[in-house]
Amino acid sequence: MTRWGMAIDTDRCTGCGACAVACHAENNIQTVGEVEAAKGRAMHWMRVERYYEGVFPDIKVRFQPVMCQQCGHAPCEPVCPVYATYRTPEGLNAMVYARCIGTRYCANNCPYTTRYFNWFAPEFDAPLERQLNPSVSVRPAGVMEKCTFCVQRIQESQELADQEERTVRDGEIQTACSQSCPAKAITFGDMDDPASTVALIARTERATHLLEDLSTEPSVIYLRGGR
Protein backbone atom coordinates (compact mmCIF):
# COMPACT_ATOMS: atom_id res chain seq x y z
CA MET A 1 0.00 0.00 0.00
CA THR A 2 1.09 3.52 -0.70
CA ARG A 3 0.79 6.34 1.79
CA TRP A 4 2.10 9.65 0.56
CA GLY A 5 3.99 11.80 3.00
CA MET A 6 6.25 14.78 3.18
CA ALA A 7 9.10 15.87 5.36
CA ILE A 8 10.09 19.51 5.82
CA ASP A 9 13.41 20.38 7.40
CA THR A 10 12.78 23.65 9.21
CA ASP A 11 16.48 23.89 10.04
CA ARG A 12 17.20 24.12 6.32
CA CYS A 13 14.34 26.47 5.45
CA THR A 14 15.51 29.98 4.63
CA GLY A 15 12.03 31.44 4.29
CA CYS A 16 12.61 32.46 0.67
CA GLY A 17 9.02 31.65 -0.34
CA ALA A 18 9.93 29.91 -3.59
CA CYS A 19 7.68 27.00 -2.58
CA ALA A 20 4.69 29.30 -2.25
CA VAL A 21 5.29 30.82 -5.68
CA ALA A 22 5.82 27.43 -7.32
CA CYS A 23 2.64 26.18 -5.71
CA HIS A 24 0.68 29.12 -7.12
CA ALA A 25 1.99 28.43 -10.62
CA GLU A 26 1.47 24.68 -10.47
CA ASN A 27 -2.02 24.65 -8.99
CA ASN A 28 -3.69 27.63 -10.70
CA ILE A 29 -4.26 29.39 -7.37
CA GLN A 30 -5.84 32.75 -7.84
CA THR A 31 -4.09 35.92 -6.76
CA VAL A 32 -6.71 37.98 -5.00
CA GLY A 33 -5.13 41.40 -5.16
CA GLU A 34 -4.22 43.98 -2.54
CA VAL A 35 -7.68 44.88 -1.29
CA GLU A 36 -8.85 41.34 -0.75
CA ALA A 37 -5.52 40.25 0.71
CA ALA A 38 -5.80 43.02 3.30
CA LYS A 39 -9.10 41.47 4.38
CA GLY A 40 -7.26 38.21 5.02
CA ARG A 41 -8.44 36.50 1.88
CA ALA A 42 -5.01 35.86 0.36
CA MET A 43 -4.75 32.30 -0.94
CA HIS A 44 -1.51 30.43 -0.57
CA TRP A 45 -1.85 26.69 -0.29
CA MET A 46 1.73 26.81 0.91
CA ARG A 47 2.51 29.63 3.27
CA VAL A 48 5.73 30.35 5.15
CA GLU A 49 5.07 31.27 8.76
CA ARG A 50 7.60 33.33 10.65
CA TYR A 51 8.32 32.98 14.33
CA TYR A 52 10.76 34.94 16.44
CA GLU A 53 12.72 33.29 19.18
CA GLY A 54 14.42 35.21 21.94
CA VAL A 55 14.50 38.92 22.82
CA PHE A 56 16.14 41.67 20.78
CA PRO A 57 19.04 41.90 20.04
CA ASP A 58 19.59 38.22 20.65
CA ILE A 59 16.82 37.24 18.28
CA LYS A 60 16.42 34.35 15.91
CA VAL A 61 13.83 34.07 13.13
CA ARG A 62 12.46 30.64 12.35
CA PHE A 63 10.44 29.72 9.33
CA GLN A 64 7.81 27.11 9.03
CA PRO A 65 6.22 26.32 5.69
CA VAL A 66 2.66 25.20 6.41
CA MET A 67 0.28 23.56 3.99
CA CYS A 68 -2.51 20.99 4.34
CA GLN A 69 -1.12 18.32 6.64
CA GLN A 70 -3.10 15.54 4.88
CA CYS A 71 -4.11 14.21 8.30
CA GLY A 72 -4.77 10.54 8.89
CA HIS A 73 -7.58 11.53 11.25
CA ALA A 74 -8.56 14.68 9.45
CA PRO A 75 -10.98 16.86 11.45
CA CYS A 76 -12.14 18.50 8.22
CA GLU A 77 -13.42 15.31 6.61
CA PRO A 78 -16.32 14.05 8.74
CA VAL A 79 -17.87 17.52 9.11
CA CYS A 80 -18.45 18.02 5.40
CA PRO A 81 -22.14 17.31 4.74
CA VAL A 82 -21.62 16.36 1.08
CA TYR A 83 -18.41 14.29 1.07
CA ALA A 84 -16.62 17.06 -0.81
CA THR A 85 -13.55 16.14 1.16
CA TYR A 86 -12.67 12.56 1.95
CA ARG A 87 -9.79 10.20 2.43
CA THR A 88 -8.28 8.39 -0.57
CA PRO A 89 -6.82 4.91 -0.13
CA GLU A 90 -3.37 6.42 -0.71
CA GLY A 91 -3.66 8.61 2.36
CA LEU A 92 -4.50 11.82 0.59
CA ASN A 93 -7.07 14.24 1.92
CA ALA A 94 -8.90 14.72 -1.36
CA MET A 95 -11.03 17.70 -2.27
CA VAL A 96 -13.87 17.26 -4.78
CA TYR A 97 -14.54 20.77 -6.03
CA ALA A 98 -17.67 19.84 -7.97
CA ARG A 99 -19.34 18.60 -4.81
CA CYS A 100 -18.44 21.51 -2.57
CA ILE A 101 -21.42 23.67 -1.66
CA GLY A 102 -19.39 26.06 0.44
CA THR A 103 -20.47 25.50 4.04
CA ARG A 104 -16.86 26.26 5.06
CA TYR A 105 -17.22 23.94 8.04
CA CYS A 106 -14.05 22.05 7.02
CA ALA A 107 -12.00 25.25 7.15
CA ASN A 108 -13.35 26.05 10.62
CA ASN A 109 -12.41 22.64 11.87
CA CYS A 110 -8.90 22.68 10.45
CA PRO A 111 -6.55 23.39 13.36
CA TYR A 112 -3.84 24.41 10.88
CA THR A 113 -6.10 26.88 9.00
CA THR A 114 -4.77 25.57 5.71
CA ARG A 115 -8.02 25.62 3.80
CA TYR A 116 -8.74 28.49 1.47
CA PHE A 117 -12.05 29.64 0.13
CA ASN A 118 -12.82 31.15 -3.26
CA TRP A 119 -14.74 34.23 -2.15
CA PHE A 120 -14.90 35.41 -5.74
CA ALA A 121 -14.43 33.72 -9.08
CA PRO A 122 -10.71 33.68 -9.95
CA GLU A 123 -9.36 36.29 -12.30
CA PHE A 124 -5.97 36.02 -13.88
CA ASP A 125 -4.53 39.27 -15.18
CA ALA A 126 -3.08 38.89 -18.65
CA PRO A 127 -0.79 37.22 -19.46
CA LEU A 128 -1.12 35.06 -16.34
CA GLU A 129 -3.99 33.08 -17.83
CA ARG A 130 -1.52 31.68 -20.38
CA GLN A 131 0.49 29.89 -17.76
CA LEU A 132 -2.45 28.04 -16.21
CA ASN A 133 -1.68 24.39 -15.65
CA PRO A 134 -3.88 22.29 -17.96
CA SER A 135 -3.75 19.33 -15.54
CA VAL A 136 -5.41 21.31 -12.76
CA SER A 137 -8.92 22.73 -12.74
CA VAL A 138 -9.59 26.39 -12.03
CA ARG A 139 -11.95 26.53 -9.10
CA PRO A 140 -15.16 28.57 -9.30
CA ALA A 141 -16.43 30.97 -6.64
CA GLY A 142 -17.93 29.49 -3.47
CA VAL A 143 -15.64 26.48 -3.35
CA MET A 144 -13.07 25.41 -0.77
CA GLU A 145 -9.59 24.42 -1.85
CA LYS A 146 -6.27 23.45 -0.34
CA CYS A 147 -2.97 21.69 -0.93
CA THR A 148 -3.43 18.41 -2.79
CA PHE A 149 0.16 17.15 -2.51
CA CYS A 150 0.22 17.91 -6.26
CA VAL A 151 -2.07 14.99 -6.93
CA GLN A 152 -1.84 15.62 -10.69
CA ARG A 153 1.88 14.90 -10.59
CA ILE A 154 1.30 11.75 -8.55
CA GLN A 155 -1.22 10.50 -11.10
CA GLU A 156 1.06 11.33 -14.00
CA SER A 157 3.90 9.33 -12.52
CA GLN A 158 1.64 6.44 -11.63
CA GLU A 159 0.27 6.28 -15.18
CA LEU A 160 3.78 6.33 -16.58
CA ALA A 161 4.83 3.57 -14.19
CA ASP A 162 1.79 1.53 -15.16
CA GLN A 163 2.69 1.83 -18.85
CA GLU A 164 6.21 0.70 -18.13
CA GLU A 165 4.87 -2.06 -15.89
CA ARG A 166 6.74 -1.06 -12.76
CA THR A 167 6.00 0.71 -9.50
CA VAL A 168 6.67 4.38 -8.88
CA ARG A 169 10.31 4.86 -7.90
CA ASP A 170 11.26 6.80 -4.80
CA GLY A 171 12.01 10.38 -5.71
CA GLU A 172 10.27 10.08 -9.04
CA ILE A 173 7.44 12.30 -7.86
CA GLN A 174 8.33 15.82 -6.97
CA THR A 175 5.73 18.21 -5.66
CA ALA A 176 6.01 21.76 -6.94
CA CYS A 177 7.27 22.97 -3.57
CA SER A 178 9.91 20.31 -3.10
CA GLN A 179 11.11 20.78 -6.69
CA SER A 180 11.56 24.49 -6.26
CA CYS A 181 13.10 24.57 -2.77
CA PRO A 182 16.66 25.89 -3.18
CA ALA A 183 17.66 24.59 0.25
CA LYS A 184 16.27 21.10 -0.47
CA ALA A 185 14.24 21.32 2.73
CA ILE A 186 11.20 19.46 1.36
CA THR A 187 11.14 15.72 0.64
CA PHE A 188 8.15 13.87 -0.78
CA GLY A 189 7.57 10.14 -1.04
CA ASP A 190 5.87 6.99 0.11
CA MET A 191 5.75 6.62 3.89
CA ASP A 192 4.85 2.93 3.66
CA ASP A 193 7.99 2.09 1.68
CA PRO A 194 10.54 1.64 4.47
CA ALA A 195 13.43 2.33 2.10
CA SER A 196 12.12 5.67 0.81
CA THR A 197 13.97 8.83 1.77
CA VAL A 198 10.93 10.34 3.43
CA ALA A 199 10.36 7.21 5.54
CA LEU A 200 14.00 7.26 6.61
CA ILE A 201 13.72 10.91 7.61
CA ALA A 202 10.47 10.20 9.46
CA ARG A 203 12.35 7.78 11.70
CA THR A 204 14.97 10.29 12.80
CA GLU A 205 14.95 11.91 16.18
CA ARG A 206 14.26 15.37 14.81
CA ALA A 207 10.87 14.35 13.35
CA THR A 208 7.79 16.04 14.85
CA HIS A 209 4.25 16.79 13.80
CA LEU A 210 2.55 20.12 13.92
CA LEU A 211 0.07 20.38 16.85
CA GLU A 212 0.77 16.75 17.62
CA ASP A 213 -1.39 16.76 20.78
CA LEU A 214 -4.54 16.97 18.67
CA SER A 215 -3.80 13.46 17.35
CA THR A 216 -4.77 14.35 13.81
CA GLU A 217 -1.94 12.10 12.55
CA PRO A 218 -0.59 14.43 9.88
CA SER A 219 1.28 13.09 6.84
CA VAL A 220 3.67 16.03 6.99
CA ILE A 221 6.70 15.73 9.19
CA TYR A 222 8.67 18.69 10.42
CA LEU A 223 12.31 18.26 11.28
CA ARG A 224 13.81 20.52 13.86
CA GLY A 225 16.11 20.66 16.78
CA GLY A 226 19.40 20.79 14.89
CA ARG A 227 21.75 23.74 15.01
Binding site: G72, H73, C76, E77, R87
Partner: protein, 165 residues
Protein backbone atom coordinates in the same frame (compact mmCIF):
# COMPACT_ATOMS: atom_id res chain seq x y z
CA UNK B 1 -86.50 7.30 6.06
CA UNK B 2 -86.71 10.60 4.25
CA UNK B 3 -83.63 12.73 4.64
CA UNK B 4 -84.82 15.31 7.07
CA UNK B 5 -82.51 16.92 9.58
CA UNK B 6 -83.73 18.36 12.81
CA UNK B 7 -81.38 20.87 14.47
CA UNK B 8 -81.51 22.18 17.98
CA UNK B 9 -79.05 24.56 19.60
CA UNK B 10 -78.62 24.46 23.38
CA UNK B 11 -77.04 27.09 25.54
CA UNK B 12 -75.54 24.65 27.95
CA UNK B 13 -74.21 21.17 27.80
CA UNK B 14 -76.61 20.12 30.56
CA UNK B 15 -79.59 21.02 28.39
CA UNK B 16 -78.09 19.17 25.46
CA UNK B 17 -77.49 16.15 27.61
CA UNK B 18 -81.14 16.00 28.65
CA UNK B 19 -82.23 16.14 25.03
CA UNK B 20 -79.78 13.41 24.07
CA UNK B 21 -81.00 11.17 26.87
CA UNK B 22 -84.50 11.65 25.63
CA UNK B 23 -83.51 10.75 22.09
CA UNK B 24 -81.81 7.66 23.45
CA UNK B 25 -84.96 6.67 25.29
CA UNK B 26 -86.93 7.06 22.10
CA UNK B 27 -84.64 4.55 20.48
CA UNK B 28 -82.91 6.82 17.98
CA UNK B 29 -79.75 5.17 16.71
CA UNK B 30 -76.58 6.99 17.82
CA UNK B 31 -75.49 7.24 14.18
CA UNK B 32 -78.52 9.38 13.39
CA UNK B 33 -77.59 11.92 16.03
CA UNK B 34 -74.80 14.42 15.61
CA UNK B 35 -73.56 16.59 18.45
CA UNK B 36 -71.41 19.58 17.59
CA UNK B 37 -69.70 22.09 19.83
CA UNK B 38 -66.93 24.68 19.68
CA UNK B 39 -65.20 23.30 22.74
CA UNK B 40 -64.30 19.74 23.59
CA UNK B 41 -67.34 18.30 25.39
CA UNK B 42 -66.84 14.69 24.43
CA UNK B 43 -66.73 13.54 28.04
CA UNK B 44 -69.83 15.51 28.85
CA UNK B 45 -72.23 15.33 25.95
CA UNK B 46 -72.35 12.46 23.50
CA UNK B 47 -75.24 10.66 21.78
CA UNK B 48 -76.48 7.78 23.88
CA UNK B 49 -74.91 4.54 22.77
CA UNK B 50 -72.06 6.00 20.72
CA UNK B 51 -68.46 5.26 21.63
CA UNK B 52 -65.33 7.35 21.31
CA UNK B 53 -62.35 5.63 19.76
CA UNK B 54 -58.87 6.77 18.98
CA UNK B 55 -55.91 4.67 17.97
CA UNK B 56 -53.59 7.56 18.59
CA UNK B 57 -50.87 6.55 20.95
CA UNK B 58 -50.57 3.27 19.04
CA UNK B 59 -50.40 4.63 15.53
CA UNK B 60 -47.90 7.23 16.73
CA UNK B 61 -45.80 4.49 18.23
CA UNK B 62 -45.95 2.49 15.04
CA UNK B 63 -45.04 5.57 13.03
CA UNK B 64 -42.13 6.26 15.36
CA UNK B 65 -40.82 2.74 14.95
CA UNK B 66 -41.21 2.92 11.21
CA UNK B 67 -39.55 6.34 10.97
CA UNK B 68 -36.64 5.33 13.15
CA UNK B 69 -36.05 2.12 11.23
CA UNK B 70 -36.31 3.90 7.89
CA UNK B 71 -33.78 6.57 8.84
CA UNK B 72 -31.41 4.06 10.39
CA UNK B 73 -31.52 1.86 7.31
CA UNK B 74 -31.14 4.82 5.00
CA UNK B 75 -27.92 5.86 6.68
CA UNK B 76 -26.51 2.41 7.17
CA UNK B 77 -27.30 0.91 3.78
CA UNK B 78 -26.35 3.91 1.70
CA UNK B 79 -23.09 4.40 3.55
CA UNK B 80 -22.19 0.80 2.89
CA UNK B 81 -23.30 0.98 -0.74
CA UNK B 82 -20.98 3.90 -1.45
CA UNK B 83 -18.18 3.53 1.07
CA UNK B 84 -16.30 6.81 1.40
CA UNK B 85 -13.88 6.87 4.29
CA UNK B 86 -13.51 10.16 6.11
CA UNK B 87 -11.16 11.17 8.87
CA UNK B 88 -9.91 7.60 9.33
CA UNK B 89 -13.29 6.68 10.81
CA UNK B 90 -15.43 3.57 10.13
CA UNK B 91 -17.86 3.69 7.21
CA UNK B 92 -20.95 3.54 9.42
CA UNK B 93 -20.49 5.63 12.54
CA UNK B 94 -23.06 4.47 15.06
CA UNK B 95 -23.36 7.58 17.27
CA UNK B 96 -24.19 9.93 14.37
CA UNK B 97 -26.54 7.30 12.99
CA UNK B 98 -28.21 7.30 16.41
CA UNK B 99 -28.79 11.04 16.18
CA UNK B 100 -30.41 10.60 12.79
CA UNK B 101 -32.46 7.62 13.94
CA UNK B 102 -33.82 9.79 16.75
CA UNK B 103 -35.02 12.41 14.27
CA UNK B 104 -36.57 9.61 12.22
CA UNK B 105 -38.48 8.40 15.27
CA UNK B 106 -39.78 11.92 15.90
CA UNK B 107 -40.79 12.70 12.34
CA UNK B 108 -42.46 9.31 12.00
CA UNK B 109 -44.45 9.92 15.17
CA UNK B 110 -45.47 13.43 14.13
CA UNK B 111 -46.61 12.51 10.65
CA UNK B 112 -48.59 9.45 11.70
CA UNK B 113 -50.21 11.33 14.57
CA UNK B 114 -51.41 14.05 12.22
CA UNK B 115 -52.51 11.51 9.65
CA UNK B 116 -54.45 9.59 12.29
CA UNK B 117 -56.16 12.72 13.54
CA UNK B 118 -57.23 13.67 10.03
CA UNK B 119 -58.39 10.16 9.27
CA UNK B 120 -60.34 9.68 12.48
CA UNK B 121 -61.93 13.11 12.18
CA UNK B 122 -62.81 12.55 8.55
CA UNK B 123 -60.93 15.68 7.50
CA UNK B 124 -60.98 17.28 5.07
CA UNK B 125 -64.75 16.83 5.03
CA UNK B 126 -67.24 18.11 2.51
CA UNK B 127 -70.45 18.21 4.55
CA UNK B 128 -72.65 21.21 3.84
CA UNK B 129 -73.18 23.86 6.46
CA UNK B 130 -76.47 23.75 8.36
CA UNK B 131 -78.84 26.62 9.15
CA UNK B 132 -77.82 26.79 12.82
CA UNK B 133 -74.06 26.50 12.46
CA UNK B 134 -73.45 30.04 13.70
CA UNK B 135 -74.77 28.91 17.07
CA UNK B 136 -71.73 26.69 17.44
CA UNK B 137 -69.57 29.76 17.00
CA UNK B 138 -71.39 31.23 19.99
CA UNK B 139 -70.41 28.20 22.05
CA UNK B 140 -73.82 26.59 21.94
CA UNK B 141 -74.21 22.87 21.61
CA UNK B 142 -75.85 21.86 18.37
CA UNK B 143 -77.75 18.57 18.17
CA UNK B 144 -78.89 17.33 14.77
CA UNK B 145 -81.13 14.33 14.31
CA UNK B 146 -81.88 12.49 11.10
CA UNK B 147 -85.61 11.87 10.91
CA UNK B 148 -88.84 11.77 8.90
CA UNK B 149 -90.54 14.98 7.91
CA UNK B 150 -93.61 14.15 9.95
CA UNK B 151 -91.95 13.12 13.14
CA UNK B 152 -89.73 16.14 13.30
CA UNK B 153 -92.15 18.63 14.74
CA UNK B 154 -93.24 16.36 17.52
CA UNK B 155 -89.69 15.48 18.47
CA UNK B 156 -88.57 19.01 18.34
CA UNK B 157 -91.31 20.10 20.68
CA UNK B 158 -90.58 17.23 23.04
CA UNK B 159 -86.87 17.60 23.10
CA UNK B 160 -86.95 21.32 23.67
CA UNK B 161 -89.62 20.98 26.33
CA UNK B 162 -87.58 18.45 28.21
CA UNK B 163 -84.46 20.51 28.02
CA UNK B 164 -86.23 23.60 29.30
CA UNK B 165 -87.90 22.00 32.26
Amino acid sequence: MADGLLHAAFRTSAEARVALNRLGQDGVAPNDVEVRSSVPLEHDVIPVGSKLRSKIPWTSLAGATLGGTAFFMMVKLTSEAYPLPTGGQPIVGLPPTGVITFEGVAIGAVLTTVATVLLECGLPGLKKAGPLDHHIALDHVLVSVKCDEGASTAWAAQAVETARS
